[in-house]
């Protein structure tokens, strides 16, 4: 009977089987600190899991690394984002089976992996990583470390929020971008832009069926010094700041100045290239590199500045995630993996190669201070994106506590936003429902 079930059932059957098998392994596999692995020679082959642009960066460091260690082969695999998170989860749940030697882990997943799968990431202090601590911004370093100081990841990207805008479109609409100080003013400008040029102020994946669609809300909420959770892990997404952000998003949407584009890499590139135009593009600092690489023909049409504040005179800097390179304890070639990570992220030579290859915004201070790093960019009309990001990172940005329940909060928020954008739900009510749902699922308290 089971064998005659049609294909539909297989997905679940496989999932159930995997979960079962996985759970058993989690229960009994104690990760072992394999001495051979740490003392081993620097040779052989290492595999790295990452995705498109960060992968390009790491690829660029390989030839120089191989000059130091000619016997080493480095295989950079573009697993894809977000597919990589599930692959890592599956591997970790299986006690490290099938994991590569180096993994590129997002700041938003770090806490989860460390909390849910203890002992699966190498404490890089085994290799003396603590000596690098002073070379990175302390906030970024701490998010990659455990409470006891264990170092689980070396910061690869450290992203401040870049507020990118189409200078040609603003010009065409007759709006001086420098005069805009708050999001309310920006939305007013968006109405003019839509009238005069037909271009939406920004595009959103309103149904959020391809990917989460919470970036704008997270930015606006961070600009009000808030997030899904506070420092103690209580739920704050339905607080005053969160509700105000969703009200701004609803206001823009109701004014008809928000385009609806499904969230995907291709659609992002189409926006950068102006094929599906947008007037603004708030994004992580990494977007500057992607723009130059993927939309060279748009040189001169993109500008960059600090994001407008939500309240007049409010915060104009926000951290927009980041990623780490980590080594799983299951790796059989940890020493070699570490040497590569250390070369790519812990030396100026490696950092330069990686930055040129992929354009990910680095956290390595000698790199930020290096000559020419904050030089004006021709692509951005003589503006310097890097100078803006360095200035932002220097501002006292609020620490974001992702907790181990970020994924649930993200999903709950995205659903609430969809209700507001597609069905006209009330922001306060939608967020209250979302917060209650997260509380019910996780047992976390709602912050007062």
């Amino acid at each position: 009977m089971r064998f005659t079930l049609n294909k539909r059932s297989r997905g679940v059957a496989v999932t159930a089987t995997a979960i079962a098998a996985v759970a058993a392994l989690v229960g009994c596999s104690a990760p072992s600190a394999d001495n051979n692995a740490t003392d081993g020679e620097v040779s052989g082959k290492i595999t790295i899991w990452t995705w498109n642009a960060p992968g390009d960066g790491l690829e660029a460091a390989i030839p120089a690394f191989q000059k130091l260690y000619p016997d080493v082969e480095v295989d950079v695999q573009d697993v894809g984002n977000p597919a990589i998170w599930e692959k890592i989860t599956t591997g970790m749940a299986a006690g490290g089976q099938g994991l590569p030697d180096v993994m590129n882990i997002g700041i938003d997943y770090m806490g989860n992996y460390v909390e849910q799968f203890p002992g699966q990431l190498v404490d890089l202090r085994d290799f003396g990583a603590e000596s690098l601590e002073s070379e990175f911004p302390s906030g970024a370093w701490k998010s990659g470390s455990g409470a006891d100081g264990a170092v689980y990841g070396i910061p690869y990207e450290v992203n401040a929020t870049g507020f990118f805008y189409r200078s040609d479109i603003f010009e065409q609409a007759g709006i001086d971008i420098d005069s805009i100080e708050t999001w309310d003013q920006l939305i007013d400008a968006g109405v003019t832009i839509k009238e005069k040029t037909g271009v939406p102020l920004y595009n959103q994946d309103k149904a959020a069926t391809e990917a989460d669609s919470a970036g704008l809300w997270q930015l606006q909420t961070a600009l009000q010094d808030s997030f899904y959770f506070d420092e103690s892990g209580d739920i704050t997404m339905n607080g005053e700041a969160g509700v105000h952000s969703l009200e701004l998003i609803k206001k823009a949407n109701d004014l008809g100045i928000v385009g609806d584009i499904q969230g995907s890499w291709d659609n992002l590139l189409a926006q950068l290239r102006g094929e599906k135009p947008t007037a603004i593009m708030p994004a992580g600092g990494w977007m500057a590199g992607v723009m130059e690489n993927e939309a060279p023909e748009m040189a001169g049409n993109w500008g960059v500045r600090l994001p407008p504040s939500v309240e007049p005179g409010g915060i104009t800097a926000a951290v927009n995630g980041g990623t780490y390179l980590s080594i799983p304890t299951a790796s059989k070639n940890q020493k070699t993996a570490w040497e590569f990570v250390n070369f790519a992220l812990g030396t100026l030579e490696g950092q330069k190669l990686v930055y040129e290859g992929g354009g990910m915004f680095p956290g390595y201070k000698p790199m930020l201070e290096s000559e020419g790093f904050a030089a004006p960019s021709e692509y951005f009309n003589g503006q310097s994106p890097n100078a803006i990001f360095i200035a932002e990172l220097a501002q006292d940005t609020p620490a974001l506590n992702y907790t181990s329940d970020y994924a649930r909060a993200l999903k709950a928020y995205t659903d609430a936003q969809t209700r507001v954008l597609l069905s006209g739900a009330d922001p306060q009510q939608a967020l209250d429902e979302a917060a209650d749902q997260v509380a019910q699922q996780t047992g976390r308290k709602l912050a007062d």
């Binding site: 539909r8 759970a23 597609l422």
Partner: protein
């Protein structure tokens, strides 16, 4: 029966058919195990691969998942929590959303698909149809289509801004319809995709059953003056009953476990409009790392499927004994199945 079979086994060999129950005592009987050359363990050896696979890949995961459903990951430690996960499930509004969506899709999609399957099967069986082999194959092909190709295909078809379906509808002045991005239409899209995917399989099952209905029944009915609809209603449908039971039960189980279509097309969205129990299980396990809760959802689903299947078997069994009767009382042909 027992006596017979043990006797038969005892004398297994070319003369087995000639063994009378009161066979005269034969000397070789005592040495049967060694003399036959097949030790008693042989059948079990043949079964061993299946048994090992069953134990390793079915029974063990089932038991392990059950144990997992009684545990929770608290601060990185797998902790026994008793029935907590199940109690949480009973109070989880999203689980009920998922159940409701699944039930709605089940109620709409399965009857639609099976009705379509019957129509197709009758058409495939018709002697008037030219190129029957081609059509049969064409309708069966979707079954073998891989999940990824299927997802890409339907995403391209149903894209609300640049999709082919909306483009075609535009020519006749309809739309654009927000196929995958509106809570209502997303459900419709799932139903359409599933129907496209599985109708052919059901049609093939019906076709096989149709060919077991004797042609004389139709001839006799025709002689008695039954029109086409009456023949379909009173001969074809009753004749299809065993296949109907099979397909209803299989499709119901498949739909209750629905995962592929929402996974590749809508990701359970928008706003959980296409969240199914299978999707919710997946999210909890692989997005939120909550394997205990995911396993509890899996077991809850198993119980639901068992109950629904039992009810279906009941319903069909009660109706099955009714004799097939043509409306005209002159026809005594009560073929027992």
């Amino acid at each position: 029966m027992n006596v017979l079979s043990s006797t038969a086994r005892a004398t297994a060999g070319p003369t087995a058919e000639a063994v009378p129950l009161d066979a005269a005592p034969r000397p070789p009987r005592r040495r049967r195990r060694s003399s036959i050359g097949h030790p008693r363990i042989t059948p079990y050896l043949f079964l061993l691969p299946t048994i090992v696979l069953f134990l390793g890949f079915k029974l063990y995961p089932y038991l392990s998942a059950f144990w997992t459903s009684l545990t929770s990951n608290i601060g990185g430690v797998i902790t026994f929590v008793g029935l907590d996960n199940y109690l949480r499930l009973l109070n989880d509004p999203l689980f009920y959303t998922a159940l409701g969506n699944t039930a709605l899709i089940l109620v709409v999609q399965v009857p639609l698909m099976l009705a379509l399957g019957i129509v197709l099967a009758v058409a495939f069986n018709s002697l008037l149809l030219k190129g029957r082999a081609f059509f049969r194959m064409a309708f069966f092909v979707p079954i073998v289509m891989g999940l990824v190709a299927y997802g890409i295909l339907f995403s391209a078809l149903f894209d609300s801004s640049a999709g082919i379906v909306n483009e075609l509808l535009g020519y006749v002045g309809i739309g654009p319809i927000p196929w995958l991005v509106d809570p209502f239409w997303a459900k419709i899209s799932i139903v359409i995709a599933m129907t496209w995917h599985y109708t052919g399989q059901n049609a093939i099952i019906y076709l096989a059953q149709l060919q077991s209905i004797p042609g004389e029944l139709y001839e006799a009915a025709q002689v008695d003056g039954a029109n086409g609809w009456q023949r379909f209603r009173n001969i074809t449908l009753p004749g299809l009953r065993p296949a109907l039971l099979l397909t209803v039960v299989l499709s119901t189980i498949g739909t209750l476990q629905l995962f592929d279509e929402p996974y590749v097309l809508t990701n359970g969205g928008p706003d959980n409009a296409t969240l199914t129990v299978g999707m919710y299980l997946y999210q909890n396990g692989f997005k939120y790392f909550d394997f205990g809760y995911a396993s509890a959802i899996g077991y809850a689903l198993t119980v639901i499927i068992a109950v629904v299947s039992l009810i279906q078997f009941r319903l069909f069994r009660e109706r099955a004994p009714k004799p097939i009767s043509l409306k005209k009382p002159t026809s005594p042909k009560e073929k027992t199945r």
